[in-house]
Symmetry: C2
Subunit: 428 residues, 2 copies
Amino acid sequence: MSSPLRLGIAGLGTVGVGVIRIVQNQAELLSARTGRDITISAVCARSQKDRSVDLSGYAWEDDAVALATRDDVDVYVELMGGENGPAKASIEAAIAAGKHVVTANKALLAHYGQSVAEAAEAAGVAVRYEAAVAGGIPVIKSLTEGLAANRIERVIGVMNGTCNYILTRMEDAGLSYDEAFAEADGLGYLEADPNLDVGGIDAGHKLSILSAIAFGTQVDFDGVELEGIGNVTIEDIRNAADMGYKIKLLGVAQMTGRGLEQRMSPCLVPATSPLGQLVGGTNMVVLEGDAVGQIVLRGAGAGEGPTASAVMGDVCDIARGLMMPTFGQPATTLRRAPSARAAVPAPYYIRLNLLDKPGAMGKVASALGDAGVSIHRMRQHDHEEGTYAPVVIVTHKITRQALDQAIEGFAATGVVDGTPIALRIERV
Amino acid sequence: MSSPLRLGIAGLGTVGVGVIRIVQNQAELLSARTGRDITISAVCARSQKDRSVDLSGYAWEDDAVALATRDDVDVYVELMGGENGPAKASIEAAIAAGKHVVTANKALLAHYGQSVAEAAEAAGVAVRYEAAVAGGIPVIKSLTEGLAANRIERVIGVMNGTCNYILTRMEDAGLSYDEAFAEADGLGYLEADPNLDVGGIDAGHKLSILSAIAFGTQVDFDGVELEGIGNVTIEDIRNAADMGYKIKLLGVAQMTGRGLEQRMSPCLVPATSPLGQLVGGTNMVVLEGDAVGQIVLRGAGAGEGPTASAVMGDVCDIARGLMMPTFGQPATTLRRAPSARAAVPAPYYIRLNLLDKPGAMGKVASALGDAGVSIHRMRQHDHEEGTYAPVVIVTHKITRQALDQAIEGFAATGVVDGTPIALRIERV
C-alpha cells in the first residue's frame, strides 16, 4: 500500500465536520477503495469552539495559509467559502506549495477559476470541486469524465435548493413569496446574504462553472444573465399550473452561433418533466450531449452528508492518482467566448396589470404586434370594474429582443400598470 | 502532447459504428480533453459487409484475439457481446498482452468479472465497462468514484429499457402483455433471445455488476433472484395504478445481516417517485449512500449514441491515465458474500383467482392468518356469479418466507385457481 494521503482542512462548519466524520468513520472502506490510508494532519477554523467531532489528533492552525502549506499536508481542503480573503490566499498558497486542492467554493471558482486552474496546471497539482455544484450529485465528474466524448449541447439545472423550496412551498401551501421566504429563513436555509440564494447568484456561480467544462470556455460569471425569484407571485405559479407548467429558478447554458448563452432565471417548465416534478430542496442537473442524449442527475444539493460525500469523492480521486485539468482541458486552451443574451428564441409567459378602460386590451395587442410578437394564448382574469385587470399572455417563440421591445411598447400605451413580469418557457 | 492512444475495435454493430463515428467526428474535442490523439488501428467483425462508416484507414482482422494482441493497439474495445466465445478469449488475450480493455459486455462481466478483474490487476491494465450498465448514464463512474466515500446502502434501478417500454405501453395503451411484447419485437427492441430482456436476465447481469462495486463483493450473478415480467397482466397494472403505484422491472441490491440480497423482479413503486414516473425505454438507477443520501441518475439505456458515449468516456479515462481496480477495490480483496433471498421485509401485492363459493374468502383470510400475514387492504372485483373472482390483497410488511407460506396455504384451500401473483411493493 502507498503512503497515507494527508489532509489539511480549513473551515469546520457543517461540511468540514462532515468530512472529518467520514475520514474517522470510514477509514477501512476508504483505504480499501483507494489503496491508501487517508488521514488528517491539521485543521483550521475561525474559532476553537467545541464541535461534535474529536479534533484532538490534529494540529491546529489559526491561519489558513499556514495550514495549506504545511509539510505534512498533501491535499488542502478549503471549506471556508468566500471568493476573496483567506480562501483565495490559502488556495493560491497551497498550489504554489505543490499541494492538491479540494474545495466547495463556487464563488471563488466563478470569479477566479481561470487563474486558479492556470496556476494548478503549471504547478502540476489537481484542483477539484465536486462539492461546489449541486452538493452530493456527481455532476462535475459526469460532465468532465463520463460525457468527455460528447459535444455538450446544453446544461440545464435547478441548482439552488432554497429557491426550489420557496417556490414549492408557494405552490403547495399557497404561501406568498414573503411568507415562503420567511419560512425558509426560519429553517436556516438562507445564506447570510439571502440575495445569494433568491437573487440567483449562488446558482449562477454554479452554472458558470458547468459552462466552462461543457463548452471549453473560461469561467465567465459576469456573462450569466441573472434574475432572482423575488418577483414571482403565487398568481404566476397558479397560472403556470393551469397551463401545465411549474416555475423553477432554472439555469441554462448553451453555445450559440452568437456566443455563450448563460441564464439563471425563473422559467416555466412542463409539470410532467423531471425538472417540473422536482420539489423541495432537491437539486437536478440535466446534461445534453450530441451522443448521449439527455442525462438527468438528481440528489441533495446541500447538507453535511451530501456535500462531505462530494468533497471526499474528490479526495479519493486524488488518492487514486487521478489527475486532470481543472475544467477538463488545459486552462490555457479554454476560449473566451462572447456572451450572448438569450440568443435562442422561446415562448414567454407575460403577466401585466391592465387598466380597466375600453380599448386597453387592443393597445396591448398592438404593442405586441408592433414588436413582432404573436400570441399563443391570452387570458384576462376576473377583477372588480374600474381596477387593474391581471392579464396573462403566452407568446409563440420569440427573441428576447422582441420581448423587450413589446415590454417597452406596453409602457407607452398608458394602460399598463407597473412593470410586466416575463418568464421564459424553457424546452426541457 | 503524449503519443496517440490507439484502439482496436471488435464488433461493428450499432455500438461499434457509433464509437467509430465519435473517433472520426470528434477528434479535436477528444484530443483537447484528453491531451492525446485517439486513433483506431484495426477493427474486426463477423463480416466485411458495407457499413455506414469509412473503415478504409483501419487494418482488418478476422479474428478478435489477433486484433486484441496487435502491437499497434493500446486499448482493446470489445463490442461483440456474448459471455463466452471470442469475447472472452479476446479479452483474456488482450489483458495477457498488456492492453487496456473497454467493453460493453455485461453478460461476460456478470459471469467472469472476478477472473477478468484479477487478471487485469495482475497485468496492471484497466478494464472499464461503463457501457455495460444503463447505456449512456455514467452510473459505474458515479458509484465507483463519485460516491467512493460512501457506505452504499442500496442500489435500485430500472435497467432494461425494453421491459419498461412493454410495461409502459400496457398501461398507456391498454395492451395485453403479448400485444406489447409483439410491438416491442416489431420495433427491434428485443434481444435475439427475448428471455434475456423479459426474463430479467440482462438487467440481472447489470445489477450483479453494480452490487460488486457497491458492496465490495465478488460479482455473483447466480445470487440474483430473477423474475421476468411475463406474468404481469394489464389488470395488475390497473390495480396498482388505482392504489397509486406503477409496476416496474426493478433491480434491488442491498447488504443485509444475512448476506447480499439481489433481486430483479417486477415490483410496485409509488407512481409519484422518480422510478414510478419513468416511462418508455429510459433507464434509471438510484444509488443510496450513508453520506450522500439518494442520488437518481436517468438517461437512455441503449442505442448507438448513448452506448458509444459510455464506451468513449472509458477510452478518455484511459487516455487521461486514470487507473483503478475493475470493481473499485483490488479484486483480491472482494468478498464472497452469502446470498440472502429477500431478507428485508416488505408489503406485497397479491392477486389470486378465487372460486365463487360461500366461505371461500374466509379460507383465504385464514391461510394468510396462519402464515402470520396481516392484510392492509383487500378487494374482490366484480365477476359473474359462479366464475372465478379476482381478488387483490395488499399485505402489511412481511418476510418472503411468510409470503411463500401463505401462497402454499392458498393451494391447500381448494378455492384458489392457479398460482397467485405476488409482487413486492418496494420503498423507493
